[in-house]
């Protein structure tokens, strides 16, 4: 009886351990950025793939080496263009005139204000 209990427990621990491992490996690989236009989620971008994304006319995002930045914008102040690249949840990209907000998924401990 006792031995069987240990076997069951052992198997249980193994299954739980493996599933945690699986989940952590799985979640590591897909770092992505959410693009909102006026509060509406319009695109989810995989940061592991180098590519360009036209969000609207004259507004283009580009992903290079795991980082995302604004490539083209028609906005008046061009502040979003100057924000540079990001791969961190603490540094969203914001284009106020176009109402576009790009947020990288992840745990937030750092916040950028300005």
């Amino acid at each position: 009886m006792k031995t069987r209990d240990f076997v069951i427990l052992g198997a249980f621990v193994l299954i739980v351990g493996l599933s945690f491992l699986f989940v952590s490996i799985f979640s590591e690989k897909g770092k992505s950025a959410n693009v909102y236009v006026k509060g509406e989620l319009v695109k989810e971008i995989d940061l592991s793939v180098n590519d360009e994304y036209q969000i609207q006319e004259d507004f283009v995002l580009i992903v290079e080496n795991g980082k995302i930045r604004v490539k083209e914008t028609n906005c008046s102040d061009q502040t979003c263009l100057h924000m540079g690249e990001t791969n961190s949840s603490s540094k969203p990209l914001l284009c106020v005139p176009n109402g576009i907000y790009v947020e990288v998924e992840g745990n937030i401990e750092d916040v950028i204000i300005g």
Partner: protein, 312 residues
């Protein structure tokens, strides 16, 4: 045996991460990202509802079937307009921001501040014409009657614009709600210029980094904070340049733009006051700024036009 297994299941459940409640909404001309690490879905919905509620009340252009800013600006000259209690409090607290900032955050110059926003879009630098819009309106021309919950304007040029403070007002209401529900782990990021931080997911402080106004891809100052509101006003959002001069969006008392600072960041408890001060401090010299801050006990970080940084 059963007990051991039950304990195991319990531990597993306990170990599972609780689902986070995140949402991004568009209001007050910006994207507001709401992150709650405690609470229920209903709390997230309530937070969104509060943001939208005050956004609609502060709407300058549309009435939205409400009695709001747009309604007052249409009909309140020489007429007592009865409003909801929420709206009355919003206006009355908005008026208090005037004395808090020595008149540098003035909700009564709406005609000028609204026009200036339109002019910035068109890159029209003829800022002197703003004088004609307000024709000596005074904040005292807004007549409040708390018993009747009515508001009246004594000057026909008076238009209210809550643009500088509506977001801060709503954020304060949101934080009051979260405190009431004992939700302490949260981050509300209202377009990166106003934030309300509780504690982070691990129950610790957040690291806050202020954007460098001369290179917005970088930050120039970092500090830790929890259970605070932080607001920044800067000359690098919502501006245009004409013949080397920067025309930003923050109007001073003389209906012009000041070039004392490139950004001002205020840290304090009350989101409304923090928001109003970041606007108000932007237009006054450092001595007057110190006096204004002393009244509240809040701290501020100034990035001056000559790139020096002053902390008060």
């Amino acid at each position: 045996m059963k007990r051991v297994l039950a304990l195991f299941f319990f531990l597993c459940l306990f170990g599972c991460e609780k689902k986070e409640l995140n949402s991004t909404i568009y209001a007050y001309g910006t994207n507001i990202s709401i992150n709650l690490y405690e609470g229920e879905k209903d709390d997230l919905n309530k937070v969104k509802e509060i943001f939208y509620h005050y956004y609609y009340l502060a709407d300058y252009e549309n009435e939205r079937d409400l009695v709001n800013v747009c309604t007052l600006n249409k009909i309140a000259f020489n007429e007592e307009v009865v409003v909801s209690e929420d709206f009355f409090n919003m206006i009355s607290d908005g008026i208090e921001c005037y004395s808090l900032t020595n008149g540098n955050c003035n909700i009564a110059i709406g005609a000028a501040s609204y026009k200036w926003h339109e002019m910035i879009k068109d890159k029209d630098n003829n800022i002197d014409i703003l004088q004609n819009e307000t024709d000596n309106v005074s904040i005292d021309d807004v007549i409040l009657n708390r018993e009747k919950l009515s508001i009246k304007f004594n000057n026909k040029f008076l238009k209210i614009d809550l643009g500088a403070i509506a977001k801060g007002y709503a954020l304060r209401e949101v934080i009051d709600y979260l405190e009431e529900k004992k939700i302490e782990k949260y981050l509300i990021n209202a377009g990166t210029s106003s934030i309300g931080v509780g504690r982070n997911k691990e129950n610790g402080d957040y690291n806050i980094h202020i954007i460098d106004p001369t290179d917005v891809g970088k930050t120039f100052k970092s500090f830790k904070a929890s259970k605070k509101c932080v607001s920044t006003s800067g000359d690098y959002q919502d501006y245009f340049e004409y013949e080397g001069e920067k025309y930003h969006h923050i109007l001073n008392k003389s209906l012009n733009v000041s070039h004392i600072y490139k950004s001002v960041t205020v840290i304090g408890d009350d989101a409304l006051k923090v928001d109003a001060l970041s606007t108000g401090l932007f237009s006054v010299d450092i001595d007057e700024a110190r006096q204004m801050l002393e009244k509240t006990g809040y701290s501020a970080i100034f990035y001056l036009d000559d790139k020096t940084v002053v902390e008060l």
